[in-house]
């Protein structure tokens, strides 16, 4: 009789183990914000949470989209003045803060530049003339945005594009929804903006690879992370080629051209999704030297993996224990 009880307990244990690892996992993929998104969550409420995240991201896309005629950003760009929702106001304010933190390397007013380079769907990629770029540059810069209470105003030729920060904000919102649903193990990828929520179901950290910028089906290293956003900006993600020359989509607000800072990929690790997204673009524009200074002043806020045009890999000291790679790399000390 006793042995029968032990056998039953043993079988029950196997059954519980199987149900935890298989039944409570739920994944979904959807297209939003001009990219493809995937959310995988483990836990009792995983299906409810994942579906709520898809709804939330589609809602945010309708607020922040630069091309959707009903979005708040589209309306602000065409009317030049708007009382937007609290969320849009918060994101514009945050963008201006990060712009000042990065000496203008992060800039949400590059919309007219991205437009003349044809980096919006429906437009043809082209290299604009120097004259065209010079005509647009005076309306670029965070100083052309005014916030008075809850009203945002733009200078006459200024237009906003939150594309370099909206996915980060959205992944932060997604992580919040998971938390509200009691989920402590999930992985979110919003077009390459990764957010690791908690740990894997077995308690080990999530492994997030960093794409090789020269061959997107290979990886240059792996980060082991818990509760962190991991965001990469690279010239390889969106680009066009004309006369044998490659032009990528990350525009330097100072020159009006695709950034040429000597970096070809920047990965940021941070607890703050919005900051991680914005800084990956900012540091791609700033280059290695300025990135080192920024890290020295803010090493409690973010870590970074940088790949230079000559294939050298640099990681910040605070990622030393979480980064592994077959390649050799230099450590940037705080």
């Amino acid at each position: 009789m006793k042995s029968l009880r032990i056998i039953c307990a043993f079988l029950l244990l196997i059954a519980v183990f199987c149900s935890c690892s298989l039944d409570s996992k739920y994944s979904s993929e959807f297209f939003a914000m001009d990219t493809v998104m995937s959310v995988t969550a483990c836990g009792k409420q995983s299906e409810t949470a994942v579906n709520a995240i898809a709804d939330e991201i589609n809602r945010l896309d309708r607020l922040f989209s630069v091309q959707n005629k009903n979005s708040e950003i589209f309306r602000l760009n065409s009317e030049k003045q708007l009382n937007p929702s609290d969320e849009t106001l918060e994101l514009i304010t945050r963008s201006i803060e990060i712009s000042s933190m990065t000496d203008g390397a992060f800039d949400i007013t590059t919309e007219p530049l991205s437009r003349i380079w044809g980096f919006y769907s429906g437009l043809e990629n082209r290299v604009p003339s120097e004259k065209e770029i010079k005509a647009v540059l005076p309306s670029v810069g965070a100083e052309h945005i005014k916030i008075d209470g809850s009203t945002v105003s733009l200078d006459k030729s200024t237009s906003l594009d939150l594309g370099a920060i909206a996915k980060g904000y959205s992944s932060g919102r997604a992580a919040k929804i998971l938390e509200e649903n009691g989920i402590s193990s999930a992985l979110i990828s919003l077009g390459g903006n990764v957010r690791a929520v908690g740990t894997k179901p077995d308690g080990s950290p999530w492994s997030v690879a960093v794409t090789d910028p020269d061959n997107s089906s290979e990886q240059i290293g792996v980060l082991s992370v818990k509760d962190r956003a991991v965001v990469t900006s690279g010239g390889y993600q969106r680009y066009f080629e004309t006369n044998g020359k490659r032009y990528h989509h990350i525009i330097d607000a100072e020159t009006g051209c695709p950034a040429q800072s000597g970096l070809k990929s920047v990965t940021i690790v941070s607890q703050d999704d919005t900051l991680a997204d914005a800084l990956s673009t900012a540091i791609f524009v700033m280059g290695l030297q300025k990135a080192e200074t920024l890290y020295n002043d803010n090493n409690d806020l973010f870590g970074a993996v940088l790949i230079t045009d000559s294939n050298e890999i640099y990681i910040t000291e605070n990622l030393k224990d979480s980064f592994s790679s077959y390649h050799s790399y230099e450590v940037i000390k705080a």
């Binding site: 297209f31 990219t35 992985l187 990764v194 997030v208 997107s216 990886q219 066009f240």
Partner: protein, 126 residues
């Protein structure tokens, strides 16, 4: 009495392990099962290890036609009418963290369950 219990536990463990082993050898390794999705819905699952010869799968989207090529152990986007052709430039599908994505025609080609690689990839499109 105690010995009997241990013998029973040992027998059950052996039985479970044998069942799992038989199960695994009857079903193909999941590492080469690839899912082809369009607009978030599964179009087809392909077992790359079972593929003999070359096969083409044609999909149509807002930006024209995509042709996927499947050979033994290999899948890639052979051609695409979309403007950027990033899916064709991606080449062969190699890792779970880096799926082949055609954004204009909303196609994703990815390994269904590949063990041993990273859980996600920063900078890849998924």
């Amino acid at each position: 009495m105690k010995n009997r219990i241990w013998i029973i536990i040992f027998s059950v463990t052996v039985l479970v392990c044998t069942a799992v082993w038989i199960g695994l050898s009857f079903f193909p390794s999941p590492s080469k099962i690839v899912g082809i999705y369009q607009n978030g819905s599964l179009v087809e699952k392909v077992d790359l290890t079972a593929q003999t010869g070359e096969r083409s799968i044609e999909l149509n989207g807002d930006y024209g036609k995509n042709i996927i090529s499947v050979t033994h152990g290999r899948i890639e986007m052979k051609s695409a009418d979309c403007p950027d052709k990033l899916c064709v430039k991606h080449g062969e599908l190699k890792s779970a963290g880096s799926p082949i994505v055609c954004l204009p025609n909303r196609i994703v080609i990815k390994f269904e369950n590949q063990s041993g690689s990273a859980d996600a990839e920063a900078g890849a499109l998924l």
